[in-house]
């Protein structure tokens, strides 16, 4: 109790300060900071120009030949070849302190632009609700096709430490096939299914892909491929790839262009429209110092976002597996 008597006065001041601070905080919360009042105008992109350069005339009249030993002007230089004016190197009114050319977008850009170029990896919940969209109902209660059911790996899919977006709780229970204990009968599979499974089997083991591609070219054959499991038939894959391919414009004469492979993670609505496309982390890491790879990856992302190349003709009964999937772009036949 000693502290009470001795601290009554001492406590009064902090209490007043605290109350005042809370009032101010409340006022700020309600009214907003004065400087934030301009925020609603999101059309204003105060994008700073991050480099300024003095552009001289056609060339900077290199210092050559004046002092050369055998210097002698031949009589044939025409009069219509005046030397261009000397380059202007005066300290011009540079608009900004001229930060170095930085490939990164300016912070202000990110703050003001409606969209950020590269989305941050962890994406919170909003996407989780996507499957619940009204239209989804028509597709969602899909009776799983036998082909899927027969797959010998109805693995309960261990809890995913999903990095980017939390997947909606897997509606695994509704899968009736699990109840059906019938072992897979190979003879009932279609050719496509057999081919697909063979491919998947080959892809499944998470082995390093050291031998694939040309390891000396950055961005090629990223180890990511080793961890990807595919469960699409070849015809399903081809249908989706054929839809997107026309929108993928690349510099096909670039050096080692055929060796560049990029990955884009895509979110897709039940109607087959791409709602989000993010260059995969592995590709992004590889393209940091490879402009060609960056150009390829950005072209790939533009392709999947292009409305001309949507909706994607995906197998509707596989929407749960395809609401987020990965596009692998491999321009292998380029020269």
């Amino acid at each position: 109790m000693r502290w009470r008597g001795g601290s009554d006065r001492e406590m009064t001041t902090p209490a007043v300060l605290s109350a005042g601070a809370h009032v101010v905080l409340l006022a700020v919360a309600i009214l907003g900071l004065p400087t934030l009042g301009r925020a609603p105008d999101d059309s204003l992109a105060d994008v700073p120009i991050y480099d300024t350069s003095e552009v001289g005339p056609q060339s900077k009249a290199p210092v050559v030949s004046q002092e050369r030993p055998q210097d002698r002007k031949l009589p044939e230089a025409e009069k219509n070849t005046p030397a261009p004016p000397a380059p202007q190197v005066e300290a011009a009114p540079k608009p900004k302190p001229d930060p170095k050319p930085d490939p990164k977008p300016e912070p202000q850009v990110a703050a003001i632009q409606p969209k950020v170029e590269e989305k941050p990896a962890p994406k919170p919940e909003p996407k989780v609700e996507k499957p619940k969209e009204p239209d989804a109902e028509a597709i969602k209660p899909k009776p799983p096709e036998p082909a899927v059911e027969r797959k010998p790996e109805p693995k309960p899919e261990p809890p995913k430490p999903e990095v980017r977006k939390p997947e909606p709780p897997k509606p695994e229970p509704p899968k009736p096939p699990v109840a059906k204990p019938a072992p897979p009968k190979p003879q009932e599979k279609t050719v496509d299914q057999i081919a697909s499974e063979a491919i998947n089997r080959a892809q499944r083991p998470p082995q390093p892909v050291a031998g694939a591609g040309k390891p000396n070219v950055p961005g090629t054959r990223t180890p990511q491929t080793a961890f990807v499991a595919g469960r699409l038939t070849q015809s399903e894959n081809a249908a989706m790839a054929d839809k997107v391919r026309p929108c993928w414009s690349v510099n096909d004469g670039g050096r080692d262009a055929s060796q560049l492979i990029v990955y884009v993670v895509v979110d897709m609505s039940p109607e087959g429209y791409v709602t989000d496309a993010v260059i995969s982390d592995a590709t992004r890491a590889a393209m940091a110092n490879n402009p060609m790879l960056r150009a390829f990856a950005e072209a790939a992302r533009r392709a999947v976002l292009n409305p001309r190349c949507q909706p994607l003709p995906y197998p509707r009964h596989k929407y749960d597996q395809l609401k987020r999937f990965e596009f692998k772009f491999d321009p292998r036949d380029l020269r």
């Binding site: 350069s53 552009v55 002007k73 632009q113 969209k115 990807v228 995969s280």
Partner: protein, 444 residues
Amino acid sequence: MTRSTLGHRLLAVAIALAAVLAAPVAWAQTRGLLQVSVEGAAANPVPIAVTDFVGDATGVQLSQVIAADLERSGLFRPIDRGAFIERIADPARTPRFQDWRAINADALVVGSVTQQGGRLRVEFRLWDVAAGSQLTGRAYFAEGANWRRIAHIIADEIFKRITGEDGFFDTRVVYVAETGPGNARVKKLAIMDQDGANHRFLTDGRSLVLTPRFSPTLQEVVYMSYAQGAPRVYLMNVDSARQELLGNFPNMTFAPRFSPDGNRVVMSLASDGNSDIYAMDVRSRSINRLTNHPAIDTSPSYAPDGGRIVFTSDRGGSQQIYVMSSGGGEGQRISFGQGRYSTPVWSPRGDYIAFTKQEGGSFSIGIMRPNGDGERILASSYLDEGPTWAPNGRYLMFFRQAPNAGGRAGAVRLQMVDTTGRVLRPVPTPTDASDPAWSPLIPQ
């Protein structure tokens, strides 16, 4: 065990541990995701909207030059301005992306031109329409007369940002301008921007000039001229038009070409009916013999790292391409196809050697890998000859002569082709034109 060995082992263990810990993260990102594989890209040009730059009246011309540059590359398809929905009034504002998506634009260029203190300030932004993000933005100052150069520099920026490769628009071309009848042909050196603008003559035509070659580092050319009666190699600064004899040899010198660092010129020197290859230091004028063979060795060209030289020789019975060390030596034959090969030029990118090939009744421009693999013919006609590389190693220029008709020589014109052979464009010149030499990117 020494301390350093122990340290290495600990480091190895730490790396292995980090790899083990990191693997699940990579695995977690993609595990369970289906993969759709898109193999084989489309060689579609990128649809791009280049809007008129606002502000100064120069803005419209500037954007037209940018659009023309991009179109000429074959990798872009500028969208007709008439289709634009949004009219850009303030390039500092975020565009309405839906308007640009509606006209199928993948990329959008906006900009402004303002006068500041009697000089131009040009600012541009390149937007990724699909992603709704700015890809790049820059501002430049220049004298008003240099607006075309700013346009080329901006086109280079756009080209590089979208394709990942350096551009080639802010460059110039020196070539041999030809006029007059075949038996009294006048040949002058001329220079112009790569798109044909800012054309001017460097010599008056009193002396025959041939084979100009640009320095890779300076605005200088070497070329062969009959100015003193006999063919000799000269050096000229294209800005001052000052020229000088490069070495004073008793015999004919020809087929000069700079080393990648611009410090040496490699050329042929003929003596007693034989020609061999020599390298000369441009500053000290010291000379070094590189081949010593009774056959005709000529048309030398350095690899971009300066370590090797490609040249032609008929030492095997017909004119073929050989590669040797830049210090000289025997050389290794790399061309084995039908026909005769000449004028090999090593790409600045290092991955190809361009050449002229004569086979049957036609001349072609082709490329092959430095080891002779992967020969591809890019263009072919009655006479296609004399390839020269753009500084990015993605495009070539050469000259094409039409067959003679009615006793008159066929027209000779410059052409540009890319390494896929798909982009073939004429290059405008005021007169007949041959022997083009592409400059490096002009230093800013």
